[in-house]
């Protein structure tokens, strides 16, 4: 009995698309098996079939050598299969503890017994170094911790076949390292892991074998040790992918966005989230604001885009004071925003793709006449963007965005924001969750926008992206800008020192005076 999981000839269709077309996946006991494929290749769908969320039209599943029927997640759980979803499935107003025991609560005489569960969970969290706060409410904790909750959920249920659907897309580099360690530890204990990721480094670092899907079809399975990153990406995309970001010299023009002494009070703690931040963004450059998550970058962006009121300082856009201008004024006057959280801000999931592509422009004359929607131009617009940006979905313009793959949702947002013909593009983690091909595409887009004389403000946690794409880097630490560096000169290590607050640049010294 060599394989713990065998999915044989699985076919799963959705309206307009065959998400899995005769796919076979065989996972050995005790291995980390990576699943690689472009956005929309069918990875999440295949895992949802294994987890009982979808039922395949064709094919069979064997678990530990026995053929099984998995009709729902409870069946999967009974077989020892657990899953961490690409978009977490936690109850937002429940505590961490409640979420973990949900569905397998201990009940005695009709009462919920939490003590044993709590002890077990605290134990598990110590054992695996999964730091959580058992009594915190889910909506108050970071995504990193939410993910640890999802992992504990599986461990609590004593699952030994663990599915991780793009767990690292939402994590900081530090958190990713931690997760890798935990995954290795889990397989040492004899558990088996299926690991979906777009980051080839991660596959290289932890996976034993990798299976590749492309457009719903199975391409092959190879040993990670004998396969280079280039070979893997070629298997996945069907062509060579260039990892180096090719870009010419920046041709810098006038200031477009000027920020002076910007301060924002924090909602969480007493101090300010953004403190006295000043910088200039100029035409034709990609300026990156780097930093460890939670050091004020999000608040800074919300202030620039108008989502959060400012408590001090000014923002000038092409010379005009826009500090207190409404959101619509900004996004219709040439400031584009690719938001950090695509489900919260970027998309109306229950609207169709064509509706989401006009989310900020539906009121322009092009798309309406005296308040009546111009469906025809809306459709043409959608078709154009789908074509140009290669947004893949089952039913084209009328696809509900909720049913699209994560990466294609992101592409839709990028398409919408770039097509607005902006002067400033504020891109927050624009490549989160994208495959290497799409990342290459978006990086090239950002550079193209720069070369067209637009200004790009990039927020990224990915150091390789920060160093590869930007022309200038500002580092934020605890709400302040602690230094400006040149990506051509700075090393990853040095950048790390700035980001952790151990170093400050000239002109950015901490002001000790009582000013």
């Amino acid at each position: 009995m060599e394989y713990v999981i065998e999915m044989l000839n699985i076919t799963k269709e959705f309206p307009g698309i065959i998400a899995n077309d005769d796919i076979t996946l065989q996972v050995r006991k005790g291995e980390i098996h990576a699943l690689l494929g472009e956005n929309g290749a069918g990875k999440s769908t295949l895992m949802s079939v294994l987890f009982g969320l979808y039922i395949s039209e064709k094919g069979k599943i064997k678990v530990r050598g026995n053929e099984v029927k998995i009709h729902n997640p409870n069946d999967a759980n009974d077989l020892g299969i657990g899953m961490v979803h690409q978009h977490f499935k936690l109850v937002h107003n429940f505590t961490v503890l409640e979420n973990i025991v949900l569905g397998v609560e201990t009940v005695r005489g009709g009462f919920l017994i939490m003590d044993d569960a709590r002890a077990k969970i605290v134990n598990l969290s110590k054992q695996y170094n999964l730091r959580i706060e058992p009594d915190a409410i889910i909506e108050d904790i970071s995504v990193g911790m939410q993910q640890r909750v999802e992992i504990l959920k599986m461990l609590y249920r004593e699952n030994d076949i663990l599915i991780f659907d793009e767990p690292t897309a939402v994590l900081t580099p530090q958190e990713i390292d931690e997760l890798m360690k935990i995954m290795k530890r889990l397989v040492e204990e004899g558990k088996s892991i299926i690991f979906i990721t777009h980051k080839l480094n991660e596959i290289k670092a932890v996976a034993d074998r990798v299976s590749v899907l492309r457009k719903g079809k199975y391409i092959g399975t190879v040993d990670v040790a004998n396969t280079s990153k280039e070979e893997m990406s070629e298997m996945m995309v069907g062509r060579k992918v260039i990892f180096e970001i090719a870009k010419g010299e920046a041709n810098i023009g006038d200031n477009v966005l000027t920020v002076r002494n910007l301060s924002i009070n924090s909602k969480v703690h007493g101090k300010s989230a953004v403190h006295n931040v000043s910088f200039d963004l100029r035409k034709g450059e990609i300026l990156c604001v780097a930093g460890i998550e939670g050091n004020g970058q999000s608040e800074l962006i919300y202030a620039l885009t108008g989502l959060l009121p400012v408590d001090g300082g000014e923002i000038y856009y092409k010379g005009e004071d826009i500090t207190h201008k409404p959101i619509r004024y900004r996004n219709s006057h040439g400031i584009s925003h690719i938001p950090e959280d695509r489900h919260k801000h970027g998309l109306v999931l229950d609207y169709t793709l064509s509706e989401n592509l006009v989310l900020q422009t539906y009121f322009l004359n092009e798309f309406q006449n005296k308040g009546f929607i111009n469906f025809k131009s809306r459709l043409t617009n959608a078709k154009k963007m789908i074509e140009q940006y290669d947004i893949r979905s089952g039913e084209g313009p009328i696809t509900l965005v909720r049913s699209m793959s994560g990466g294609n949702q992101q592409k839709a947002i990028v398409a919408r924001e770039v097509e607005k013909d902006p002067d400033v593009i504020i891109a927050v983690q624009p490549t989160r969750g994208l495959d290497v091909g799409a990342i290459e595409y978006i990086h090239n887009q950002l550079i193209k926008q720069r070369d067209m004389g637009r200004a790009v403000l990039l927020i990224s946690l990915e150091l390789s992206e920060v160093l590869g794409v930007s022309d200038r880097i500002l580092v934020m630490y605890e709400g302040e800008i602690v230094g400006e560096v040149d990506p051509k000169e700075v090393t990853q290590q040095e950048l790390g020192l700035y980001m952790s607050g151990s170093k400050r640049g000239a002109g950015y010294e901490r002001k000790e005076t009582s000013e």
């Binding site: 309206p15 039209e57 409404p326 959101i327 996004n331 938001p339 109306v348 609207y351 900020q360 009546f372």
Partner: protein, 361 residues
Amino acid sequence: MNVKKLLSNRSFKSASASVFAILFGLLIGYIILLISNPAQATRGFIIILNGGFNGGLRGVGNMLHNAMPIILTGLSVGFAFKTGLFNIGASGQFILGAFTAIYIGVKWTFLPSGTLWIVAIIGAMIAGALWGGIAGVLKAFRNVNEVITSIMLNYIGMYLVNFLVVSTVFDLTRNQSISPRAAYLPTGGMNILFPLSSANIGIIIAIVVAIIMYIVLEKTTFGFELKAVGYNREASRYAGINEKKSIILSMMIAGALAGLGGGLLYLSNTGKHIEVVDILASEGFNGIPVALLGLSNPIGIIFSGLFVGHMNMGGFYMQRLRFVPEVIDIMIAIIIYFSALSLAFKSFIENLSRKLGGRTK
């Protein structure tokens, strides 16, 4: 092939779920009739199915009149629902609309009789809009759940109207409001189509309003904004939509629809008056099942309103067989339960279409 295509159509799937709900509800209703009076059950059931038709054209007219207010409260609930709000306050908005219409009809007789009723129903809509707007403002600015506020506003509205009726348009001898004779609705030709029935221009207005609401929701940028806010408030804010304004407007429109229903019903020359009692207007609550059954789609609501009106008439005629009309309420309740389960029905239909069609290509 065609059957298959039809079965996989999104809106067909939803609508057929409602139809299934209705069929199951009727079936269980029949069983209840069998239990309560086996001898007469089948006859009773036929009467229910015949609904308004039991009374010939007059019955049909009465059925339309019965459907008119619940179509409007159904629209009120359904419109709010489409924009992400649960308007359980239709009852209060309805009765405020009713009072305002009566007040104008009784007191503003200086207006020419042809325009008085129009002014009165506009007043009814404004009153309903303001009442709904309170819940909207609280939701938009203080994030108070509209369900709680609108339940409370139902009671406040009822007592307020009782007080206002007594202090302004009170018929002391009958303990009810004065008849707004000068503002009775025109028949709009319904008296010719359905002689001797209660039907009047109200049902025509209700249907026209439903069509307008459909257009607003599906064809205008305004509806696009309201629905976007309903689906995702944060993303709408990001897109530059004034989400507070949208929430308030949604609740005001919902309120205006319920208020219009109240105004039209109480301006009908059918002997309906506001009685000074501590009972919430049931038309408001009946709007909820009508909206559910119509899948919150304004056009669907026309039909579900007519259906519920039809059933109500059936219940009325069934009393001839000594059945209590409450049996009808039970049947409608069952139908609602099933339509709430319509998701299950939907997947049932999906399975069916898969089995019939096999692979799509």
